[in-house]
Symmetry: C2
Subunit: 240 residues, 2 copies
């Protein structure tokens, strides 16, 4: 496939400690499929400067677009913006347009030094607006730095996605088998070889006492997908 690639770096002790179930990578995955950008890695790291910088270096070199989630608020554990500046080796300071957005969100009279931390933007970045909190994220190089609060992450993604190049949307269809993977592995292997441009994923499930298998056919060519699904349905019929 020649679609653009993406990765997400989720910054959050709350995910790694089991307190919170990750939601933003899941949302991002669903959105990127629709626009034909291939998500090739999800990485969750702690609120730790070194871990964030290392993750940014690795992912921004490996894929076309890196999204980050979390760590851009006003408190002592919000260290993402500084880590991004360090990763790109640029200065970071309060920027006037970001300050105006934060002031509008918080109210000028209540604005504290902590609030102003949210207006600290690495040099050369472009702001990402959002209509939920009003406090901006930012893009620098191929990295898009977004909030961890899911409703704000969603709004920032809506703002940034149209500006990214997109590829061919990936379509998927699913055929459910009420037998274990082992019963259909051989014909499935043959089918996968017949359709080199499609991805055939085999996902076993345990549904009460029944072991079954969902076969997911993915690709960018609807006619080829339909043909593979027809073959799978024929296979399912032949199992009786």
């Amino acid at each position: 496939m020649t679609n653009p690639t993406a990765a997400i770096l989720v910054i959050g002790d709350e995910i790694l400690s089991g307190r919170t179930r990750e939601a933003n990578a899941y949302h991002l995955a669903g959105r990127l499929v629709q626009v034909g950008i291939d998500l090739v890695e999800i990485r969750v790291v702690p609120d730790d400067h070194r871990a964030i910088v290392d993750g940014l270096h690795a992912l921004s070199a490996a894929v076309d677009h890196v999204f980050t989630s979390g760590g851009i608020g006003p408190t002592h554990d919000d260290i993402t913006a500084d880590a991004v500046a360090a990763a790109f080796d640029v200065a970071i300071d309060v920027r006037e347009d970001a300050r105006a957005m934060v002031a509008a969100a918080v109210g000028d009279r209540r604005l504290t030094d902590d609030h102003l931390r949210m207006a600290r933007i690495p040099e050369g970045a472009t702001l990402i607006a959002n209509g939920i909190s009003g406090v901006p994220g930012f893009s620098i190089g191929n990295v898009h730095v977004m909030a961890g609060v899911p409703s704000i992450f969603v709004a920032m993604l809506d703002a940034v996605l149209p500006s990214l190049g997109s590829g061919e949307p990936v379509v998927s269809r699913e055929v459910r088998f009420e037998v274990g993977e082992g019963r259909i592995a051989t014909p499935l292997r043959r089918l996968a070889a017949q359709h080199p441009r499609l991805s055939l994923g085999s996902y076993p499930f345990a549904d009460g006492r029944v072991f079954g298998t969902n076969i997911v056919v993915r690709g960018t060519d609807p006619a080829a997908i339909d043909a593979a699904v027809a073959q799978l349905e024929e296979l399912r019929g032949s199992l009786g």
Copy 2:
């Protein structure tokens, strides 16, 4: 902290394509907190040999225990065992004890070459039994290779966890503020400095139209946690 560290490598196109919401890393995170092992990275990669090998190399060098999830079934897209063997540079073949377990699970008369793929175990590995499917995972070096089906992953983790060294269980308590992070960032920063052995996480939330903040105090010393929580409750009271 001197607790042992862990990471999980989730192998699965189905997560990256947005089809499935990841569940095993979330379960693992909750379990590791209880036994005092610090989960320091979650990484999700595709069903791709190179991506799995690279992930294994990076994570097994960085942490004490690596768990993998997914890709150990009988179908063409189940390539985890081979990637693990390649990462450790050891041979892989059908092993008699694993073959017996697979045969017991599937039924000897129905056993196919595809089923036998599940009995291919890298040289030097130890099997991980599970009472759900009967098909084993395995441990090699500091890597524990487990199934992607959540009920089987849970059973394998139950089997392997008691054999790992554990640390001091991490306890957490939460104080909810009905104000945004900016209002409490300054006292919170002071409190975090007063309790260097505790982790104070600040998690903003948007609950309908209310922006609030959950402060999570984490650590291994219950008395210190109680003291910090009392200070947070006093702070909350002072906000009126």
